[in-house]
């Protein structure tokens, strides 16, 4: 059983009577432990795809199975629970709460979990340590650089130890150096901790950090291939 299975996924945005198709029958599946890059130019439907995979949006037509169960069968509360326990999100624009410390930001998903309050601080601190930001724990987002903000977002995505991490253009707003560091962390999470990672990008360079690249164009999968030589963020970094 695949972790993620989509069949003929369609999404049509209706805005003031004008219908814009964003997905026109995408089909693929992703196994546990994969590192998949979803690539395509802007407007190709890759973000829409990610949002549907992450239960943040719903398809117009088609089938999406997460953990073997069809999405329609999940109630809204169950979807919230899945997002909380099994999914982690990293956004291009970080989406951190302003005027709230790094620690509190990372703790946010724990608020909505079943995990005991007494464990929150330890879990959040561990997650912050794993992205190398322990020295910034009491800082507010406005005091951090872009790269640091994104690492806080990664720590937040990690804190509930999710099965899959969705990263929507995580390096889009970062300089190349910070971008590399983010990619390094993502690769490490995939290799050492076994998190499934689904990464959206429009840059071939970034996509090549994944093990598999799904190419999307005009709402359809045009190519789906394994990366022969995965780019190592760490090596780049060392150079």
């Amino acid at each position: 059983m695949s972790l993620i299975e989509v069949k003929n996924l369609e999404k049509i945005y209706a805005n003031e009577g004008v219908k814009t198709p964003a997905l026109r029958g995408a089909t693929f599946s992703i196994e546990k432990g994969e590192f998949v890059g979803i690539m395509g130019p802007s407007g190709s439907g890759k973000s829409t795809l990610l949002h549907i995979l992450g239960f943040l949006d719903e398809p117009t037509r088609g089938e999406y199975r997460f953990d073997g169960r069809i999405m329609d069968e999940y109630s809204n509360n169950e979807k919230a629970k899945i997002r909380n326990k099994k999914m982690g999100f990293i956004f291009q624009s970080f989406n951190l709460l302003p005027k709230t410390s790094v620690l509190e930001n990372v703790k946010l998903p724990l608020l909505y979990s079943d995990i005991k309050k007494s464990k929150w601080n330890l879990l959040a601190k561990n997650a912050i340590e794993s992205v190398g930001l322990s020295h910034r724990i009491a800082h507010e987002p406005s005091q951090l650089s872009g790269g640091e903000k994104q690492r806080v977002a990664i720590a937040r995505a990690l804190v509930n130890n999710p099965e899959v991490i969705f990263a929507d253009e995580p390096t889009g707003n970062l300089d190349s150096q910070s971008g590399k560091m983010v990619m390094e962390i993502l690769q490490k999470l995939n290799q050492k901790k076994g998190h499934t990672i689904i990464l959206i990008t429009h840059e071939t360079y970034t996509a090549e950090h994944a093990k598999r690249i799904i190419n999307v164009r005009d709402g359809q999968v045009v190519r789906d291939e394994t990366v022969t030589r995965q780019r190592r963020a760490q090596e780049d970094f060392i150079k």
Partner: protein, 412 residues
Amino acid sequence: MKIANSLTTAFMGLKTNKTRSILTILGIVIGITAIILIVSLGKGAQNLILSQIQGLGSKTLVVIPGREPKGPSDAAQIFSDSLKEKDYNELQKKSNVPTLSGIMPIVFGGANASYQSETYRLTLFGASEIVGEMFDLHTQAGEFFTQEEIKGLSNGVVIGSKVKEELFGDSDAVGQKIKMKDKSFRVIGVLPKKGQASFFNFDETAIIPYTTAQKYIFGIHYFHRFIIEADSDKNIAQTVRDVQITLRNLHEITDPEKDDFFVQTQADLVLRLGIITSALTLFLVSVAAISLLVGGIGIMNIMLVSVTERTREIGLRKALGATERDILTQFLFESITLTGIGGLAGIALGATLSFIISLIIKSVSTFGWEFSFPLSAALLGFFVSASIGLIFGIYPARKAARKHPIDALRYE
């Protein structure tokens, strides 16, 4: 999510959005304070007016010389000399007015009273021995003059508390001599501090026998008023009629239109002042309603804007696993806290301010102004602003919580 967690989240939300929280609280505070202030001061004024009327008993009627003023041109008629000693004697007779239980002629006017080097301008009041009974006055020291003293044109005087204070300070007044119109008067009684009762502020008056007042002070042979008390409430109308008939006979008036006196009853006064007070009440209610509306719109705006502004935050929280209920609980607690703090602060501030203002009014004026806390206005103000705060705090949050998380996240 547990309730305790929701509470923590709500407080963090309030702390993070400090300006917004303070503005919302301020809006509610100002709204409620305004209402309490307006209604409390209005009530104070209303009570003052009402207490003026109620100072006279409901069985009391007043005979006033002159034609009842119907317009500005009649004003001069008020000061007429139509009420004489003869009228007083006839009205006292049971055969003329059987339902009369008491009658007191009065004369009054301003006079300078002096004691040693102190001088005080007071209202001098010539009355009969039943003045205490009629106006429910009791001396705190000494006593009122007797019927014999009236007949004997006694020089006894009962002074109000303010007069005593101004002329004698802390020392005893009873037995001392004061001078009015070059005539020496012996203080036989002092009134306690009472404030305003009926039409006269007795604190600033001196009361002497009407006979003495007529002869030595005002130099007149008529009266300014007859104060009459009927034996019961039911007999007021009968008493008025008998008084009118008796006086018309004495004054040889056949056409009631040409009366040279008129009788005012408590009922007349209540009726007249009732119109004033109900207009006042209506005015207060409209002002309160307007301030409530303005305050409400202010709260609505702040809540609507600030919660809508946080649509992205709601989207993020949903993406991280918050359910619709979690979001609603958070915003409900936030709104309750804001409106609760604002409401209590508003009530406290409103009550304090109107209390202070009533103290100021009391100290700068001679009115018997009483502070009153308008509980119903406070509750209404609190209820309305709290409901507005809750509705407009939760409604946009609910709208945002119902969206797909990505739509809320992308909201701009």
